[in-house]
Point group: C2
Chain length 194, copies 2
């Protein structure tokens, strides 16, 4: 049986929700590595929280985990430091063409974003509309005020376009979200300064 | 065969390296929860990094990890935010009565502490001498300069006593390391202010 040549791309789409076969998470991890290498910012993805229930110590060189479960994260996935400021964010992609479903973000992640804002940290979410190939940065206070004011299940793309910042996709770094943060909080443009 | 009544404590000691059966990690996690509840600081332990190699999706309600391995952490264990400042630290206990062995801290964790200091974050290590029941906070720059100047395999307790801050053990929070940070960086004493 022959498949049309597009089939592989389609499979990648299903896994990564991306037109280019590259997950948002991969893009951000590569960007963070770029920021680290260039000494621009120190931002790391937190490991996925896993509850380990069975462990095999028989192998002296390497402990093998035999049973474990994924746990719900209590904070956002990424945090770190840029120009002396605490940075904290969550990154999510959606296959929707029209809105970002809020069930993508857990309630305690929203609480965490509120806490960060209250303690003078920089908090935001990165939203990718995979099929449209558009990625936005929405500041934490905009997200919180949307949730409080609209009691909606999702944020319309039109609202995001008006109230967020588009993140350029480049070769290096793939997702230059620090450029957006720099403009908002430090009034600068890294590229112009150099 | 009869064991002396002290045997259980001894077992706990072996696991936790603690006279009181309470690990440093537990003490810090409880303190972080206290800081969070009292809206003093937002500091979380990062999940242990685990490489998942086999997953069972058969159970629709819960994905079971069937094989996984512990990975070496690339950053420190704890980070967060206090009074708008980025906080980053590693916590270790030792059974030694005389010195803190530096092989407790990975090379890339030291690199990470250096990076944090260069970007104006607050970085430190918490060292507990379990048998002595003494816990110290050593600032990142003191640690880095010790490593660079002495090329030693461990930091003598006498050096730690002179160049670090003792952390009081209390009921709530168990390890009030934020009080130490507050005194050093914000010139304040939380308790006196309140």
């Amino acid at each position: 049986m022959k498949y049309p040549t597009g089939i592989k791309v389609k499979v990648e789409k299903l896994i990564c929700y991306s037109n280019r076969g590259m997950c948002l998470e991969d893009d951000i991890n590569l960007s963070n590595q770029y920021y680290l290498d260039k000494n621009i910012a120190i931002i790391h993805k937190k490991p996925t929280p896993i509850q380990v229930t069975k462990v095999d110590f028989k192998n002296k060189n390497k402990t093998i985990i035999k049973e474990a479960f994924f746990k719900t994260p209590s904070t956002t996935d990424y945090n770190g430091l840029y120009k002396g400021k605490y940075i904290d964010f969550e990154a999510k992609e959606t296959k929707s063409r029209t809105s970002f479903p809020l069930n993508n973000i857990h309630e305690h992640q929203i609480k965490h974003i509120e806490d960060i804002l209250n303690h003078n940290g920089i908090a935001f979410i990165i939203i990718r509309f995979s099929i449209l190939n558009e990625t936005y940065l929405m500041l934490g206070d905009v997200l919180i005020s949307f949730i409080q004011n609209f009691k909606a299940k999702s944020i319309p793309l039109s609202y995001i376009k008006t109230n967020s910042f588009i993140i350029e996709e480049k070769y290096h770094p793939r997702m230059d979200y620090i450029k957006v943060i720099d403009k908002i909080y430090f009034g600068g443009d890294k590229n112009e300064k150099k």
